[in-house]
C-alpha cells in the first residue's frame, strides 16, 4: 500500500485505512408489498477487515432503515445472523468482507433456504426449533443423583466435545439439499443435538433418542452431501457425527 503522506496525530485514524467499494446485492421481500422476492443492490464503502454484518448494519442504519434481519451478540455466539452469503451459508458476523469480495466486487446476501421468509433476511425459525425439540434436548437421568457430580472421564467427555459446540444457528440444516425439498427431515442441527445426548454417558434416554433417529424423518434421510459440514461456523464435523449416529442406530449401541 502506498501512502502519499505519513499519518499525523491530527488526522483521523480512518483516513489511513484504505476503503474498498462494494456492491451489496440483497434479496429483499416485503410481505405487504411484494409477491416475489427481488434483488436490490446497494453501493457501500467498507474496509476489507469489516465483517459482512458491519456492511449490512451500515445499509440499515444509513441507507435503507426497512431492511430486516436478525442479529444479537454480533460475535458468533448467539447464532442469530445465519445468512446465505455469496452462495454459502455463513454467520454474517463471522465472515470478513475480504474473504468474500475484492474491491469493486459484489457480495450477495440471501435469507437461508428451506424456511419461510417473513421479511427480507428474516425467516420463520419455528420448524427448525420444532425439530430441535423433537429429539428431547435435555438431560434425562432418573437414577438418584450421587452426593457430588456425575463423573465423566476425559475420554467420555471427548466423545461429545464436537456436538456440544452447536449454537443452533441453522447454517447446517438450511444448507442441506434434502431439507430444502423435505421439510419433515429433522435436519443436521437436530441430529448433532441428539448426538450430544446419545453419546453422553450420564444420560439414560439413549435408546429413546436412537428410536427417534431411526424414524423416517431421522438420520436415514441424510444423503451425505456434506453441505452442513462446510457451512458450520463452529467447525463441527457434522457429517461425521451423523454417520456415528447412523452406526449407533444400526448396531443399537452408543
Amino acid at each position: 500500500m502506498t501512502q502519499t503522506h505519513a499519518p499525523t496525530s491530527a488526522a483521523p485514524v480512518s483516513a489511513s485505512v484504505p476503503m474498498i467499494q462494494l456492491k451489496v446485492k440483497v434479496l429483499r421481500f416485503d410481505p405487504e408489498k411484494d409477491k416475489k422476492a427481488h434483488w436490490t443492490t446497494y453501493d457501500v464503502e467498507a474496509q476489507a477487515s469489516d465483517r459482512v454484518l458491519d456492511v449490512i448494519n451500515h445499509i440499515k442504519w444509513y441507507m435503507e432503515p426497512s431492511l430486516t434481519f436478525r442479529r444479537s451478540c454480533m460475535h458468533g455466539i448467539c447464532g442469530s445472523d445465519a445468512m446465505l452469503i455469496n452462495g454459502r451459508n455463513r454467520l454474517a458476523c463471522k465472515t470478513l468482507v475480504r474473504d468474500v469480495a475484492k474491491s469493486g466486487g459484489t457480495i450477495t446476501v440471501e435469507p437461508i433456504r428451506g424456511l419461510k421468509v417473513e421479511k427480507d433476511l428474516l425467516v420463520d425459525m419455528e420448524p427448525f426449533f420444532d425439530s430441535y425439540k423433537a429429539i428431547m434436548p435435555y438431560f434425562i437421568n432418573e437414577s438418584p443423583a450421587p452426593a457430588a457430580e456425575r463423573i465423566q472421564s476425559e475420554e467420555e467427555a471427548e466423545r461429545m466435545a464436537h456436538s456440544s459446540n452447536c449454537i443452533l444457528c441453522a447454517c447446517c440444516t438450511t444448507s442441506c439439499p434434502i431439507f430444502w425439498v423435505n421439510g419433515s427431515y429433522l435436519g443436521p442441527a437436530a441430529i448433532v443435538q441428539a448426538h450430544r445426548f446419545i453419546f453422553d454417558t450420564r444420560d439414560e434416554a439413549t435408546q429413546q433418542r436412537l428410536g427417534i433417529m431411526n424414524q423416517n424423518t431421522g438420520v436415514w434421510r441424510c444423503r451425505t452431501a456434506y453441505n452442513c459440514t462446510e457451512a458450520c461456523p463452529r467447525d463441527i464435523p457434522i457429517t461425521q457425527l451423523i454417520e456415528e449416529v447412523k452406526r449407533a442406530v444400526m448396531y443399537g449401541q452408543a
Binding site: 446465505l84 439439499p177 444423503r223 451425505t224 452431501a225 456434506y226 459440514t229 462446510e230 464435523p237 457429517t239
Partner: protein, 118 residues
C-alpha cells in the same frame, strides 16, 4: 445455486444417475416385454432405438451405471468407517476418474454403432 463442494455434486450426480438407470430399466423391461404384443410391435420399438439419441444414450447409461456403482461403494465406506468421511473428497475424484474411463471405453467400443447404426 448453492455453492456446495464435492459432496453436494456427488449426491446430485448419484441421484440423477439413479433416476436415469431406473428409467433405462423400465424402458428395457417394457421393450423386451412388448414381444407379447407380437413381433411387428416389438420390431417397431427396437427400430426407433436405432435413432442417434438412443445410440449416444447407451454410452451415457454405461457411465451412469459405473458412476452409481462406484459412488455407492464410496457411500458404503463412509457409512461403515470413520476414515471414509475424512477421505470422501479424494474417493469422489477416484469415482469420477473411473466413470470417465468407462465413458471413454464405452464410446470406443461402441464407435462403429454410434456412427453406422446397427
Amino acid at each position: 445455486m448453492y455453492r456446495g463442494r464435492e459432496g453436494q455434486w456427488a449426491f446430485l450426480l448419484h441421484r440423477l444417475s439413479g433416476l436415469a438407470i431406473l428409467a433405462y430399466l423400465l424402458l428395457h423391461v417394457f421393450s423386451i416385454g412388448s414381444f407379447i404384443f407380437g413381433e411387428r410391435f416389438y420390431m417397431a420399438i427396437h427400430e426407433t432405438y436405432d435413432l442417434w439419441p438412443f445410440r449416444i444414450g447407451l454410452v451415457f447409461v454405461t457411465a451412469g451405471v459405473v458412476y452409481h456403482a462406484f459412488n455407492g461403494l464410496r457411500i458404503i465406506v463412509m457409512d461403515f468407517t470413520g476414515f471414509g468421511v475424512a477421505y470422501q473428497r479424494q474417493m469422489w475424484y477416484g469415482v469420477l476418474l473411473i466413470s470417465v474411463a468407462a465413458f471413454l471405453y464405452a464410446a470406443w467400443t461402441l464407435y462403429p454403432r454410434l456412427v453406422g447404426g446397427y
